[in-house]
Amino acid sequence: MIPAAFDYAAPKTLDEALRLLRRHRDARLLAGGQSLLSVMKLRAATPKMVVDLGRIRGLAYIKETAGTLLIGAMTTHEQIASSALVWKRARALAEAAEQIGDIQVRNRGTIGGSLAHADPAADYPAAFLALEGVAVVKGPGRQRTIPADGFFTGLFATALKPGEILTEVRIPLKPAIIGSAYRKMKHPASGFAIVGAAAVLRAGSKGQGSQVRLAFTGAAAHAFRAKAVEAALAGQAITEAAVKAAMERATEGVEMLEDLAADAAYRAHLVRVYGARALLAAGAG
C-alpha cells in the first residue's frame, strides 16, 4: 500500500505554511502523520499537496503561564504522557495520551494533528472537552481561539476553516482542577476508544462545591459533553450512588455510533459505565 503521488513542502515558519495553504487549496497538513499517512496509503485520501509542519520550530512545548497550561500543537503524545506537569495539572490529558495507540504511534503522533483530524474514536477529544480546552488557530493574517465546546462539528470535522492551522492547545487551570481522569474501553484491534470518558472536577467558587465536566469519545459522530450529568452532579459529592443516578442521562440527545464492536444500546451502556468510572477516579483525586 502506497500513497498516490503528491507535492510536498516543509516550510520553516508558520507564515510560510499559511502562504502554502493559501496557494494550494486542497493541501493537507502533515503533523505526526500517524492518521494521515495511513489513510493516504489506503488511498482514502489523495491530496495533491502535503504541507509538513515538522520543520517549523517552536511548536512542541508544554508550559504553564498565568493559570493556563499551554501545549504546542506539534507536541507528541509521548511528550504529553511523560510530562510531570501534565500529570500534575491535567491528569485526564496525560491518561488519554498514555492510552493512545502504542509506543511508536505516541512517539510520532501530535496533539494538534489528532484534534484537527477529529477521529470520532480518538482519545484526546474527550479530555480536551472535559478540560474545557481552547484551540489556538492561526489563519491568513489573524489568530483566533476556538473553545473545545465548539471545536468538533461532525465526523472527522472541526470548526477549523480552510487555510487555518491549529498551533496551540490551552487548558485553563482555574478554577483549580481537583481531580481528573480518562477511562477507556479499547478496541482490541485498532486500540481506538470503543468508548472513552474524561471527567474533570474543579473547585467551585465560594464554597459552592465542585464543578463537574464529563465528556465522551468513541460513542458518537464526534466527542460530546454530557451536560445533563454535569448539571446533576454540580456541587454534589461524587459518590457511586450519585454518579450512577446521574449517568442515566449521559446519552441524552446523542445518537450512538453502531459498529461491529458495539451497537447503540451497548455503547450507551458503556458510556454510563466508563463515565462513572472516570468520574469516580477523578473524585478520588
Binding site: 503521488a5 484491534a189 461491529l260
Partner: protein, 792 residues
C-alpha cells in the same frame, strides 16, 4: 559423550542468527536484475459477471510494462483441488490464474499490472475500468442451501460442494432415544483469518533457452507447488520448474495451498521476458488468502444420568467460500468428522458434513484444521452434559475417558481403520487440576459469586491427530487426498565429517534446522554445529510433502532417523573392514565404531566419512560415500493429547473477560527440544484463545469483508494474555521409533474450548449455558443484560 544427550535438550536455535540481525532473505527481500513488479486488480463485487475490462489507460501509464486479464491466460488450466472429501462426489470449482467472466467472492483477481516499480503498478490499478453485472449474493451457508438461493456454480446444485457422513446414524439415533438426558445445542465456529505477519508473495523468472521457470513463493510445501503448477496448471514437465520457499514469515496453514497469484507470476515472467515479483498487501491477504473454520453445527449428545455419554450426533454446514482452495473439502471431513470421539469412549457417533459455496473468501486449513472444530464440539458437549446432569465437568470427563489399557483404541470405526496410538488422559487432567488448585478454586468461585463477581474455570481434555500420513489411508482410495503423504530425508556425511541433511519438510518457524540436527548429533555422535539442514528448494532436496498438520517430527524426523540408521550400518561395515573385525563384532556408539570388548580398536565417524569419501580402501561390494535417502510412510498417525484449564473473570458491567490463569498440560510424546515445543504450545494457545475471545471475520450481506485490515480484525497483542503455565507428560508414540507425536497445533486445538467453557462456567449463575464466539464484551453483556431483563 555430551553429544548423546541432544534429544531432549533445549538448545538455542541455529536459524536465529540470521533472523535477529535482519540478514534472513524473506520473499520481499528477493531482488533480481531487471525485475518487474505486479499488482493485482481484485473484484469489487462478491458475485458478478465481468462484462468488460478496459486496460488501455493503465497500459499507457508511466512505468507500466503490461496489463493483462484472465483472457491472456486462458491456456492455463484452473487450479486443482488436491484433497476432496473421500467416498462422495465433490462438485469442484477452483480458481483460474485470473478469473475471466465471473467472480464468486470479493477479492478474486481479475487483472494484473506489471510495472517497473511497485509504486507505478499500484497507481495504474486505478486506471483499469471494469464493467460488472452484479449478481445476487449469498454469504450465509444456511441461506445458500435453501431453494431459490443465488447459485454460484452450475455443477453445484443448491451450492453444495459435497455431502459427507461418517459413523452409524441409525444406531446413534436409537441410542439418543434411549439416553437419560439429551442435549441439543447449535454451535457456531466462526470464520478466522490466519494472519501470518508476512503476507504472501512470489517472484518468478523464466529462462527462454531451456523453457525453465524458477519460482520463489511463500509456501509450506514447495514440492507440491511444483507438482501442481507444472502438471496441473501449466501442463509442462515437472523438470521445467524449480520452486523455492525462501525464509517464510509464518503460515499457520495459509501457505499450504496453490494460489492463483503464484501461477500468474510465473506466467507473467514468460510473457514479459523479465523476472516478476508480486507482494501481497495485508488487505489482499485478508480478502484473497484462505480463511479458516466457519462451521455451523447442530449437536445432539445423549448421556446416562451418571454422566456417561452414550451417543453423539453432529450435523455441520462447512462454509467453503466462493471457490475451492487446494485441500478445502478434506478439512471438515477427514480431519473433523473422524475426530469427534475426542478423548472419550463414545459408543455411538454419527456425523454429517455438508460443504457449501457462499460468496465469501476461500476457506481451508488453519492451524489445527478440523481438529479445533471437533474438539470444540466434543468439549462443549462434555460441559453441557455436566451442566445437565449436575455433575462436575472434570468428573464427567473422567467417567468417559478412554482408559490407558484400551490403547490402541478404535473410536467405533469413525477413524476409518486407524486407532488412537497411546494415551493416559486422566494423568494430564490430574496434573492440570493440581496446578490449577481445582478444589480451592471452586471454593473461591463460590465466595466470589456471593460478592457478585463472576469467576469461571473451563476444561478442555483434547486428543488430536498428527503426523498425518499413512498414504494408503489418506490417499485417493481412502480419505481422498490426491497423492501419498510420506516424508523424505537424505543424509550425507562429507569428506570433512560435516553432515548435510536435506528434507522434504519445510520449516517456517518450527526450528527444523535445529531439531533435525539434534537427531543427527545423537545418532552419529557429531556436534550439532557440524550438521546443516537444507530444505525448501525443489532443486537439491528429495521430493517431500512439506510441513503442516504437525507432521514434521513424526514423519519427516523419522525419515531422517531412518537414513541415519542406514549410515550407521554402513559405517559399521566400513569400520569392520578397516579394523579387520567381523561386522557383527563392531558397535557404533557415540560417534565411534569399535570392536566389542576392545574399545581402543575404533574409528571415529569423521575417519570413516573420510575413508568412505576418498574410497581408497573399501570393502569389495561397498559404494563410496555415506549418502542415504529414506522415505518414511508411517503405519498410523499419532495422537497427542492433554488437559488445558482456563480461569477467567467476567466483568458484568462491561461484559469483558479477563483471563486470570491459563494452564496447559500436554502430551506430545517424546520431545526433541523442550524450549521449541514450549514455544509452539504457547503460540498455539494464543491463537486458540484469540478465537474464543477476539477474532472473527465478518462479511456484510453484500459479501464485503468488514474486517479487512488489522485495525478491524483483532490479532491479539502481548497485553491480552497472562503468563501461560505449562507442563507435560510423556507417553511415547508406539507408531514411530522416535516416540514423537507432534506439537505444532495442540495449543490451538485445546484452548478455544477451554476458554469458552470457562466463560460459560462464570456465567452459569446467570442462567447462560451457551454463547457463540468470539465472546466479545458486547455479546456477553447482551446475554447478561437479556437475562437480567427477563428476570425483572
Amino acid at each position: 559423550m555430551a553429544a548423546m544427550t541432544m534429544f531432549g535438550a533445549s538448545i538455542k536455535r541455529r536459524e536465529d542468527p540470521r533472523l535477529i540481525t535482519g540478514e534472513a532473505t524473506f520473499l520481499e527481500d528477493i531482488r533480481l536484475p531487471g525485475m518487474l513488479h505486479a499488482a493485482i486488480l481484485r473484484s469489487a463485487h462478491a458475485h458478478a459477471r465481468i462484462k468488460a475490462i478496459r486496460t488501455s489507460r493503465a497500459a499507457r501509464a508511466q512505468g507500466v510494462v503490461g496489463v493483462f486479464t484472465g483472457r491472456d491466460f486462458a491456456d492455463l488450466n484452473p487450479l486443482p483441488c488436491a484433497w476432496q472429501a473421500g467416498g462422495v462426489k465433490n462438485n469442484v470449482n477452483t480458481p483460474r490464474v485470473l478469473e475471466i467472466d465471473r467472480v464468486t467472492f470479493t477479492g478474486a483477481g481479475i487483472a494484473v499490472v506489471v510495472a517497473e516499480d511497485p509504486y507505478a503498478a499500484e497507481d495504474a490499478l486505478a486506471l483499469i475500468e471494469v464493467d460488472y453485472e452484479p449478481l445476487p449474493v449469498v454469504v450465509d451457508p444456511e441461506e445458500a442451501i435453501r431453494p431459490g438461493a443465488p447459485q454460484l456454480h452450475e455443477n453445484a446444485p443448491n451450492n453444495i460442494c459435497m455431502d459427507w457422513s461418517c459413523g452409524d446414524r441409525e444406531a446413534t439415533e436409537q441410542a439418543l432415544r434411549a439416553a437419560d438426558v439429551v442435549i441439543r445445542q447449535r454451535l457456531i465456529n466462526q470464520r478466522l483469518i490466519p494472519t501470518p505477519i508476512e503476507a504472501r508473495g512470489a517472484v518468478a523468472q523464466y529462462f527462454p533457452a531451456t523453457g525453465e521457470y524458477t519460482v520463489w513463493m511463500t509456501s509450506q510445501c514447495p514440492h507440491i507447488m511444483r507438482l501442481l503448477m507444472s502438471a496441473f496448471v501449466f501442463g509442462i514437465p515437472e523438470t521445467k520448474m524449480r520452486v523455492i520457499s525462501p525464509q517464510i514469515g509464518g503460515a499457520f496453514g495459509s501457505k499450504i495451498y496453490l494460489y492463483p497469484e503464484y501461477c500468474l507470476v510465473a506466467a507473467l515472467a514468460k510473457k514479459v521476458g523479465r523476472p516478476v515479483k508480486w507482494l501481497e498487501t495485508r488487505k489482499e491477504n485478508y480478502v484473497a488468502t484462505t480463511h479458516g473454520r466457519d462451521h455451523i453445527t447442530d449437536l445432539e449428545v445423549g448421556a446416562r444420568a451418571d454422566g456417561t455419554v452414550v451417543a453423539l450426533k453432529v450435523k455441520t454446514l462447512a462454509n467453503l467460500g466462493g471457490i475451492l482452495s487446494t485441500i478445502a473439502p478434506g478439512i471438515p471431513t477427514t480431519l473433523y468428522g473422524r475426530m469427534l470421539s475426542g478423548a472419550y469412549r463414545i459408543p455411538h457417533i454419527s456425523c454429517n458434513v455438508v460443504g457449501v459455496y457462499t460468496n465469501t473468501g476461500m476457506v481451508d486449513a488453519y492451524r489445527g484444521a478440523g481438529r479445533p472444530e471437533a474438539t470444540y464440539v466434543v468439549e462443549r458437549a462434555m460441559d453441557l452434559v455436566a451442566h445437565k446432569t449436575g455433575l462436575d465437568p472434570a468428573e464427567v470427563r473422567r467417567r468417559n475417558f478412554i482408559p490407558p489399557e484400551a490403547f490402541p483404541y478404535d473410536p467405533v470405526g469413525i477413524l476409518a481403520g486407524l486407532k488412537y496410538d497411546s494415551g493416559d488422559y486422566d494423568k494430564t487432567l490430574r496434573r492440570a487440576l493440581q496446578m490449577a488448585g481445582y478444589e480451592a478454586f471452586r471454593r473461591e468461585q463460590a465466595q466470589a459469586r456471593q460478592q457478585g463477581r463472576y469467576l469461571g474455570l473451563g476444561l478442555s481434555t483434547y486428543v488430536e491427530i498428527c503426523g498425518v500420513a499413512p498414504s494408503a489411508w489418506i490417499g485417493l482410495p481412502g480419505q481422498g487426498w490426491g497423492a501419498g503423504l510420506w516424508e523424505s530425508a537424505n543424509v550425507r556425511v562429507h569428506l570433512t565429517g560435516k553432515v548435510v541433511v536435506t528434507t522434504g519438510s519445510q520449516s517456517h518457524g518450527q526450528g527444523h534446522e535445529t531439531t533435525l540436527a539434534q537427531l543427527v548429533a545423537d545418532e552419529l555422535g557429531v556436534p550439532v554445529d557440524d550438521v546443516i539442514v537444507q530444505h525448501s528448494d525443489t532443486l537439491g532436496t528429495p521430493f517431500g510433502y512439506g510441513t503442516y498438520g504437525s507432521r514434521s517430527a513424526a514423519v519427516g524426523g523419522v525419515a531422517v532417523h531412518m537414513s541415519l540408521q542406514k549410515i550407521k550400518d554402513k559405517a559399521r561395515r566400513l569400520a569392520a573392514h578397516l579394523l579387520e573385525a567381523a561386522v557383527d563384532d563392531v558397535v557404533f556408539e557415540g560417534g565411534r565404531a569399535y570392536v566389542r570388548g576392545a574399545p581402543d580398536r575404533a574409528k571415529t565417524i569423521q575417519e570413516l566419512a573420510l575413508a568412505a569419501s576418498v574410497g581408497y580402501n573399501l570393502p569389495a561390494v561397498m559404494e563410496p560415500f555415506f549418502d542415504e535417502t529414506s522415505y518414511y510412510d508411517p503405519p498410523n498417525c499419532t495422537f497427542p493429547f492433554g488437559a488445558h484449564v482456563c480461569i477467567v473473570e467476567v466483568d458484568p458491567d462491561t461484559g469483558r473477560v479477563k483471563i486470570l490463569r491459563y494452564i496447559a498440560v500436554d502430551d506430545v510424546g517424546r520431545v526433541i527440544n523442550p524450549l521449541i515445543v514450549d514455544g509452539q504450545v504457547q503460540g498455539g494457545i494464543a491463537q486458540g484463545v484469540a478465537q474464543a475471545l477476539w477474532e472473527g471475520a465478518v462479511y456484510d450481506r453484500n459479501g464485503q469483508l468488514l474486517t479487512a485490515t488489522m485495525m478491524d480484525y483483532a490479532v491479539p497483542k502481548a497485553g491480552f494474555f497472562p503468563r501461560f503455565e505449562l507442563d507435560r507428560t510423556v507417553t511415547p508414540s508406539p507408531t514411530n521409533p522416535l516416540g514423537v507425536k507432534g506439537a505444532g497445533e495442540t495449543g490451538t486445538i485445546a484452548s478455544t474450548a477451554a476458554v469458552v467453557n470457562a466463560v460459560m462456567d462464570a456465567l452459569a449463575p446467570l442462567g447462560v449455558t451457551h454463547l457463540d464466539m468470539p465472546l466479545t464484551p458486547r455479546r456477553i453483556w447482551q446475554a447478561i443484560h437479556g437475562r437480567k431483563e427477563a428476570a425483572r
